[in-house]
């Protein structure tokens, strides 16, 4: 019997949601107060009210809406391709011992390369446009999915596999009935990481290549930042990008809960944690 020791979520009078909303309100209020008090020059950091006004204005801006749609489409397309290629590939590579070791090694060396660094060479190779963005997103998202899928396969209980094999099931059936469900939570985490990476690359590429590459939030921010710059507009667009990120994350959590009902999927920060620590020294 443990006494009141670990912090618990309080329940009764002030549910967590109310507190969260208060938190947001306090933050906005404080930001506005700091701005209005003149502590920070408005040319450096605009007033919160200006930013919020600009952000809500964007909701009616057809070009911005088109940009959001384009970014969303790029994300969906890129992530979709990555999942469709990456998960089976990871399962395949992870199932064959020699290939697994080799792939692991390649992944370990290619993973540290920041994908944004590849925006430039790929853009030179393929020219600005959807092809570049899609290539980068698929490349960037492939690593977390491959790594996590293979890590998930590693984690499968060998006893469970042997049990099924003892009943005469073939290798493919074992994968389908034991390995895949067991590895599924890891794969799901990999997808959430890949989703965050996809969004980053989508917006990042758009910003670097600009509007010639096509519509997108990145291009919009680049436009807003050009010339004398329009800081409130940039901040407003970033707020929308953040909201998009939140919505996409909620979407993935919802999907995960539907597909893996047995697994306690937390709303938490799965995309900010890795499946596991690096397995061995470099």
């Amino acid at each position: 019997m443990s006494a009141e020791s670990a912090p618990r979520r309080s329940g009764r009078r002030y549910p967590a949601v109310v507190r969260g909303v208060i938190g947001i309100a306090v933050f906005i209020g404080l930001a506005q107060a700091v701005g209005a008090s003149g502590l920070v020059k408005q040319s450096v950091l605009p007033l919160m009210s200006t930013v919020l006004a600009r952000a809500s204005g964007l909701a009616g801006n057809t070009r911005f809406i088109a940009d959001m749609g384009a970014t969303l489409a790029g994300w969906a397309l890129g992530l979709g391709i990555t999942i469709v290629i990456g998960v089976p590939l990871g399962l395949l590579l992870g199932s064959v011992p020699v290939v697994r070791v080799a792939t692991r090694a390649i992944v370990e060396f290619l993973r540290p390369i920041p994908s944004v660094a590849l925006i430039l060479p790929v853009e030179l190779l393929l020219g600005p446009g959807l092809r570049t963005a899609a290539t980068l997103i698929v490349y960037g998202g492939m690593w977390p999915i491959l790594y996590n899928t293979m890590a998930g396969l590693d984690d499968v209980d060998p006893v469970a596999k042997d049990t099924l094999r003892a009943f005469g099931f073939g290798r493919l059936a074992v994968i389908r009935h034991v390995s895949l469900p067991s590895a599924a939570p890891f794969i799901a985490t990999g997808i959430r990481i890949a989703s965050a990476v996809a969004l980053i690359l989508d917006v990042g590429t758009g910003y670097l290549t600009g509007r010639i590459a096509g519509p997108g939030i990145g291009a919009f921010i680049a436009d807003a930042n050009s010339g004398s710059g329009n800081t409130p507009l940039v901040l407003g667009a970033v707020i929308w990008a953040g909201l998009l990120g939140v919505v996409l994350n909620l979407l993935l959590v919802w999907a995960e809960r539907r597909l893996l009902p047995w697994h306690r999927t937390s709303l938490g920060y799965a995309d900010l944690t890795t499946a596991r620590a690096p397995a061995a020294a470099p």
Binding site: S5, G20, A105, P121, I200, Y207, G245, G268, A277, A281
Partner: protein, 263 residues
């Protein structure tokens, strides 16, 4: 057996590089120069300096060092601010309730947007770059620290109460060590992100640095130069992960062994 695993990855790397070399020599492509070309270009540009300067050329000291400096400064800032804040928030369920939606929102913002924001705010320069790195990398560290502080074993906490540890003693001997595994998880991610943000920030808002050099290479269609940058970043990322791994295995030796030893 473990030695074999360690060796095998270098064998794989060597094979991969060898394969690339063969392909590049066979199909001469301006877009994919062979590793030998890239390696010699890197040597020429960065590593052919005097021994007294660790073989670094002025180009290297003028670009690689500032980039590293920005990363290290950014990481230092997030460690010094993020860990204490994370521990405090994690131990206070009230504070967590208030801050959670706000934190969820901020960490969902694609990190690269920090760069345009800070260019708009601070204009070009080191201030903008460090701010970008800090703004992007603090989230994994902060949120994982909060998670670590929040999930401390209740019996350990009760023990601290029963022996009447002061607040500082609790932090030093219980909360911080108990949260350390999660802190390192966050740190690993923050370190990877720091590389990404450093490059991105320098691509758009800098007058020196690796990203700046890559930007120049881009504008003069110098693909070799671009690949040089990519390879260098890969090496830096690998080294940074490696150093972090070494530190982690030292500091968290008890953690791995305890989990293996647990019944």
């Amino acid at each position: 057996m473990r030695r074999l695993g360690w060796l095998s990855r270098w064998v794989v790397l060597a094979c991969g590089v060898g394969l690339w070399q063969l392909l590049a020599d066979w199909r001469h492509s301006a877009f994919f120069p062979p590793p030998s070309t890239i390696a010699s270009a890197m040597h020429r540009q960065w590593f052919s300096g005097p021994a007294s300067h660790l073989f670094l050329t002025p180009d290297a000291t003028g670009n690689i060092l500032p980039s590293l400096g920005r990363i290290l400064l950014g990481l230092a800032i997030i460690v010094v601010t993020g860990i204490p804040a994370g521990l405090a928030i994690g131990r206070s369920p009230v504070l967590t309730d208030f801050l959670d939606p706000l934190l969820q929102f901020f960490r969902s913002i694609p990190v690269v947007t920090a760069a345009p924001v800070f260019i708009a705010l601070f204009k070009i320069g080191t201030q903008m770059e460090v701010a970008t790195i800090v703004a992007g990398t603090i989230w994994p560290l902060l949120l994982n620290t909060i998670d670590g502080a929040r999930s401390i074993d209740s019996v350990q906490v009760e023990t601290a109460r029963a022996f009447r540890y002061s607040a500082w003693e609790k932090v030093r001997w219980l909360i911080f060590p108990a949260a350390l595994p999660k802190i390192f998880t966050g740190l690993r991610l923050s370190v990877s992100l720091s590389l990404i943000l450093m490059v991105f920030a320098e691509l758009i808002g800098s007058t020196d640095g690796i990203g700046y050099e890559m930007n120049n290479a881009n504008q003069s269609f110098d693909l070799t130069g671009l690949w040089e940058g990519v390879v260098l970043l890969g090496i830096l990322g690998y080294l940074m992960n490696g150093i972090l791994y070494l530190v982690e295995s030292r500091v968290l030796a008890w953690h791995r062994s305890a989990r293996q030893g647990a019944s």
